[in-house]
């Protein structure tokens, strides 16, 4: 089991699954993520992380969403067990 430590979305690697704990950014950013289905409690899987502080692509349900690095780093997450073991 992974430790239940709080991480930033940018700490995760492609293939990692995690649960969003909080979004430490202004309301505007929170609302934009909410529109795309990302709120505290959402389970996401990292699909790709672009180099040089590039965007992080995550899967939410059947959708893929790209987040800029700055925004991704403000998303606090907790690693959860792999999606397949749910």
């Amino acid at each position: 089991m992974w430790a239940k430590a709080e991480l930033s979305l940018t700490d995760l690697k492609p293939g990692d699954t995690a649960e969003v704990i909080s979004i430490r950014k202004g309301k505007r950013a929170q609302m934009r993520l909410l529109e795309l289905g990302i709120t505290p409690g959402t389970r996401i899987t990292v699909v790709a992380a672009h180099p040089l502080r590039g965007p992080v692509v995550v899967r939410v349900g059947m959708l893929e969403v790209a987040l800029g690095w700055g925004l991704a780093s403000s998303v606090r997450v907790r690693r959860s067990s792999q999606a397949g073991h749910l």
Binding site: P14, T17, R24, K25, G26, K27, R28, A29, Q30, M31, R32, L33, L34, E35, L36, G37, T39, T45, V47, A48, A49, H50, P51, L52, R53, G54, P55, V57, R59, V60, G61, M62, L63, E64, V65, A66, L67, G68, G70, L71, Q82, A83, G84, L86
Partner: protein, 664 residues
């Protein structure tokens, strides 16, 4: 009414007069629209394809129902310009029925908007689209159960295959207001309070009927970060109410259950959680989605869905770079190849005709109109078909394929790091790429960008430094005539593009967060690409061809009649400063009308290769054409439009000066 019966409606109630198709981006609203009304709204595979309203008519014998296709909107409080277009339509209150198109494969997120629409108090029908894709992913959705929960008709459809559309049309009569959700008691208390205040100031019967439930207006007020001018436009009475509440709250009379997140609250706290209504609605949408969805197949955990592996692979940064590079290289190669082919074919096919025309022109006296007309006909006729037509057509076809695959947003993600140097988010590449087709729709497409700043920067770059297909073709064609160094021309264009972007990005700093939905990959449908290209090509026959022919006749007349000689008086000055003769400035001025007409002016002048290189560079980087200028005024306002125009003229002159100094 007869038709109503034939559609399976036994007890037709009141027919709606205006229907709006509303849904989240990329769910297939435009497909439904085209299938219902026979319009030809563009269909692509990226969020933000539709940025304007499209109107069509649904005909039932005698009855005609207006159908409005709206830009996709994630919610009724989303903040980009295209999404606000949709919100405005719903606020203005002319809509009798909403068909909410939702994506069965992404039910939870789509239901968020559905729940908001239920609040509005406008009759609703839900079109559950893409049920085939959901099924392929092992998701079975119980439409009947969803219908019971929402209290409105839910019709499963596969719009691309026209499945279920008959049922959708017949359900229009069953459209109902439905059952809005209840929030937690705390939130309901605040809503109730606002609702009562609104009922006091917005009378039940106004000049026209009140089109929204007070509850909807109360929630709208709570969820809007800044006070919404569009709302005040529709309900001017609310302005005084909001101002009064703002004063009360400001004076310390904080609502009994304060969330510090209403539109009028001065105590707003950036770190405060999102609006409670939004969070609760998200939770309820998820609960409803899981109630009505059953996962059918055994191995359907999100990581193992079919087709996922390919997308995962293509989403890696390396693949993104390869795709972006290959797309650019391949597009360039194809355009050059097709243009070359056409050039030869058209030349071979038309040379006997042209010889005949030229010999015919010899029969007319020097300077007569008929003679002039016939001598200028070849360039007005051959150039459009040998150069402009193939370039435009190839670029449109390539663009159509690119739009359909879902690669466009992937390129946007890959290039986000690059575009952020220009101060704009990655999705700016979408309007920029569209600009290589035609810049007018590209300026409109900037509506999907997240803030005004990005829209301004991208619009400026589009107006100045992105050549459209027609200009690109003419520039190439004219350059061959004069032996222009195209490497210099395109090098200068690229340098100005980058330079302007970087400078504007530095001057107008902004925090602009990058968030972009990446749609699933799809095989492009050839018929769709073909149809879009045909519609886009209509511009060639309607504007490009007649303008090129007309202008080439007029120009020959002006030049041979010596009407441009006043410009040659400027010769000493211009050749000193810019290294070109005075008449070249007629070409620079011409870019205000249409950029692709400007090189035609040059065609009438005896230019040296060096002079032509400078002149072509100057017209390649010049003012926005008339259609683009009009759109700039409409979209960004007078001041911005004039600023862009002056900046563009300045850049054009600057390029001339610089090249004159640098070129041997």
């Amino acid at each position: 009414m007869e038709l109503a019966t034939s559609y399976g409606v036994t007890n037709p109630v009141r027919l709606p007069r205006t229907i709006a198709l509303v849904g989240q981006p990329n769910v297939g609203k435009s497909v439904v629209m085209n299938a219902l009304t026979g319009t030809r709204a563009f269909v692509s595979n990226y969020p933000g394809t539709t940025v304007e309203l499209t109107e069509g008519t649904l005909v039932f014998g005698e009855k005609r129902i207006k159908v409005i296709d709206t830009p996709g909107t994630y919610s009724l409080h989303s903040d980009t310009e295209d999404q606000r277009v949709t919100q405005r339509v719903l606020l203005e209150g002319g809509v009798d029925l909403i068909i909410n198109v939702i994506d069965a494969a992404n039910l939870a997120r789509n239901l968020y908007l559905t729940l908001q629409l239920l609040d509005l108090g406008i009759p609703l029908v839900v079109a559950l689209n893409q049920v085939d894709r959901a099924k392929a992913a092992g998701l079975e959705i119980d439409a009947k159960k969803l219908e019971d929960i929402l209290g409105v008709p839910v019709v499963p459809v596969v719009a691309t295959k026209c499945e279920g559309l008959r049922e959708l049309v017949s359900s229009i009569w069953r459209g109902r207001v439905g059952k809005p959700i209840r929030f937690s008691d705390q939130v309901e208390e605040v809503i109730g309070h606002l609702e009562r205040e609104i009922e006091k100031v917005v009378p039940e019967v106004r000049g026209r009927r009140r089109s929204h439930a007070p509850r909807a207006l109360a929630i709208h007020l709570m969820e809007h970060d800044r006070v919404d001018e569009d709302l005040f436009e529709a309900y001017p009475e609310l302005r005084a109410l909001v101002e009064r509440l703002q004063r009360q709250v400001g004076a310390g009379a904080v609502c009994s259950r304060c969330y510090r997140s209403c539109a009028f609250c001065p105590a707003r706290d950036e770190e405060h959680p999102s609006f409670p209504t939004c969070l609760e609605r998200t939770a309820q949408a998820r609960a409803i989605a899981s109630q009505v969805t059953s996962v059918r197949a055994t191995r359907t955990m999100p990581g193992a869905l079919r087709g996922r592996t390919v997308e995962d692979l293509l989403d890696t940064p390396t693949a993104g770079l390869v795709i972006t590079g290959l797309t650019a290289y391949f597009s360039y190669k194809v355009v050059v190849l097709v243009m070359d082919l056409f050039d030869r074919l058209v030349t071979i096919a038309t040379s006997p005709l042209l010889q005949w025309i030229t010999s015919l022109a010899g029969h007319f006296p020097e300077g007569s109109f008929a003679g002039l007309f016939l001598t200028s006909l070849p360039e007005g006729l051959v150039l459009p078909f040998s150069v402009v037509f193939p370039a435009m057509f190839t670029i449109y076809m390539l663009m159509g394929f690119l739009e359909d695959t879902g690669l466009l947003p992937r390129i946007a993600v890959t290039l986000h790091r690059v575009t952020s140097f220009l101060g704009v988010p990655g999705q700016a590449v979408v309007p920029l790429i569209l600009g290589f087709g035609c810049r007018a729709p590209a300026v409109l497409a900037t509506r999907s960008l997240p803030d005004r700043r990005s829209r301004f920067i991208v619009s400026t770059l589009l107006s100045m430094a992105v050549p459209c297909a027609a200009s690109l073709a003419i520039i190439t064609g004219v350059s061959q005539v004069f032996d222009v160094n195209l490497l210099v021309v395109y090098g200068v264009v690229a340098a100005v593009f980058t330079g302007t972007g970087v400078i504007l990005g530095r001057l107008f700093r902004g925090e602009g967060e990058f968030v972009l939905e990446v749609p699933p990959l799809r095989w492009p449908s050839f018929s769709n690409v073909w149809r879009k290209s045909r519609v886009r090509m209509s511009g060639f026959f309607l504007h490009v061809l007649p303008l090129l022919m007309g202008v080439s006749v007029i120009l020959r007349y002006l030049v041979s009649g010596g009407y441009l000689s006043f410009l040659s008086a400027l010769g000493p000055v211009t050749s000193r400063l810019f290294g070109v003769r005075g008449e070249v400035f007629a070409a620079v001025a011409m870019t205000v009308v249409q950029r692709y007409l400007a090189p035609m002016v040059l065609l009438n002048l005896p230019l040296s290769p060096r002079e032509a290189t400078i002149a072509v560079s100057m017209v390649s980087l010049s003012m926005p054409c008339t259609p683009v200028s009009v759109l700039l005024v409409k979209e960004m306002g007078w001041r911005t439009a004039i600023f862009i125009l002056i900046l563009a003229l300045g850049v054009s002159l600057g390029v001339g000066l610089a090249l004159n100094l640098v070129l041997p």
